[in-house]
Symmetry: C2
Subunit: 341 residues, 2 copies
């Protein structure tokens, strides 16, 4: 089947998935019988473009990488019109995350699902704030709302619980959900102070100029909310998750932990207990003997506690252009495999 794909957002992730799709074109056709054409792209910096026969993606990548506006196949359609009126069967929502209102991504997602188009997204906003509502609209319109990229990008999480762990009841998920803070804690162990490490993380592009979202735990909190709602059907809001970041961790705390054969990790936790789902994000001292203690640098890891298998742990990369691009690809392939059913 030849899929027609639209991208809302042509930033790091949008360009990442385009590069992967172009690189792997033949591989995907041979291995999965997957063929595609990208017909719609919307980006507030580069413009909105549409060509039902397929856009000139190499040219667009060149222009965007050089911070130039698109020049070919321009359209007057705004984002919503483009989503509704394009011939796309899959819309990838790849705009910036807003964990307060979910906008404007939530409008894009709703427009796509209501017009019978699958949504694949790495945007935590709609997933953390409106998952139950969007899933319902998706089901009503017989399309998918897939969000692997919203939790730990390159490390399969949602798709792991949904597929290979199907049949297990998951009672607890604990993990390192934010690569930036894990990198910072790992570096602090080498003797640097918090402020110093933060500066390096910003220089390396791990932390934003305003690092609040990472260091205060908000990013992990969004992921915990998504896991609680999707894996455990909790129906909670992001503000229901008690959240403490790593800003108060001192070099002394790090040394104290070391003396006890422990290590500080920012742990996101979701647990079913007496019919309730208990969630939290906070720094915890983890014993060296636990699988999560050995996970260093900008890496993510989650331990799932299950009824049939006990603990299953997965360790992999967190954010990144190609890693997040992969999460979009894997959800697109999931739609392809099941013919969207």
């Amino acid at each position: 089947m030849k899929h027609t794909i639209g991208l809302i957002g042509f930033g790091t992730v949008g360009r990442g998935i385009c590069e992967i799709l172009l690189d792997k074109k033949n591989y995907l056709k041979e291995k999965y019988g997957f063929e595609f054409v990208i017909t719609a792209v919307a980006d507030f910096a580069f413009g909105n473009v549409y060509n039902p026969d397929g856009l000139d993606i190499p040219l667009m990548l060149k222009q965007a990488n050089e911070k130039q506006k698109f020049t070919k196949d321009l359209t007057d359609y705004d984002n919503i019109k483009l989503i509704k009126n394009s011939n796309c069967d899959i819309i990838c929502e790849l705009t910036y995350t807003d964990l307060t209102s979910g906008g404007p991504a939530i409008d894009h997602v709703r427009a796509a699902l209501e017009s019978g188009k699958h949504i694949v997204t790495s945007n935590k906003g709609p997933a953390a704030l409106f998952y139950p509502e969007m899933k319902k609209i998706a089901d009503q319109n017989n399309v998918k709302f897939l969000i692997e990229g919203t939790v730990c990008a390159g490390t399969p999480v949602i798709n792991l619980t949904d597929g290979p762990l199907a049949g297990c009841d998951i009672s607890k998920i604990r993990g390192i959900l934010n690569g930036t803070t894990n990198y910072m804690l790992s570096e602090m162990e080498k003797g640097m102070a918090y402020e110093e490490v933060l500066k390096i993380a910003q220089e390396l592009g791990y932390a934003e100029a305003d690092p609040t979202g990472d260091v205060e735990g908000h990013d992990a909190r969004g992921k915990v909310t998504i896991l609680a709602n999707i894996v455990m059907g909790a129906g909670i809001k992001i503000t229901d998750v008690p959240c403490r970041g790593i800003t108060k961790i001192t070099s002394e705390d790090i040394e104290n932990a070391k003396a006890q054969n422990k290590r500080w990790k920012l742990i996101g936790s979701v647990e079913k207990k007496d019919g309730k789902v208990i969630t939290s994000v906070s720094p915890e001292m983890i014993d060296y003997s636990h699988p999560l203690a050995g996970v260093m640098g900008a890496t993510n890891a989650l331990t799932f506690t299950t009824d049939l298998l006990g603990d299953v742990t997965i360790v992999g990369p967190g954010a990144g252009k190609i890693e997040t691009g992969f999460s979009i690809l894997t959800d697109i392939l999931s739609i392809h495999r099941t013919n969207g059913k």
Copy 2:
């Protein structure tokens, strides 16, 4: 959809999957819309039984656990006739593994696939020796040949590469594929000699009375063959895999490794190199800093090296009645999810 299931083999795994299916009957119906009836069971110790409306599984579990023959719904059909003539849509092949001839499991698998029935199996024989041939017959008959349970039982491996890692090119897989030997090496580190540890492993039921299959690496070799053929399309035979077990590892070797901050692990390895697939099973000294080094006891772990994500590691349980039963359930649910497509 209501599935009709047949079990060939009513030993540990056969009873394990029955217990899980009975325990989870309501959960599976609510969560996945999955309903089932077990209509055929064949076991050389307990007899062959068939009832197109459903067998009395609680009674059969009781009889088998008490080592008594089945008394209800007995049939004259031999295994092959039962597979061919029953109303099952899914046959679970759960007899003993023979890594030399693959028999008699291979005849069961062929009969099922040729008569248009899905096969789910934890039997390494057909998977390690005849995968390409069986997959072809399955494709021709529009049914599935699913084998999650053949590699690391409770740790999702095949289904991980097939689903959540879809789109990644996997260039290398290295892992601890045999829980028994990993348990033994872990215990030897505490100061016991090989022979002593082996005796305890046998008492705990980890190792068989004849432990050759585990300690000489044959079990891991079968799994390496399956991974090489399925994940990398190698088309190799089990005898193509160079194989060395742990029988020559002494307490002195263990101490020497420790002095270098390393630890002996029996590593199964599959790697694409210059268009060839290189495989091996052998004990290796692994640095403490590697994720596989921290995996202790009867646990399995695999690191997949991929083009898009770098390394992704999964850690989980190896063998076990419920763990292997789970692997059968998860493949059955996969057939259910895709309506066998």
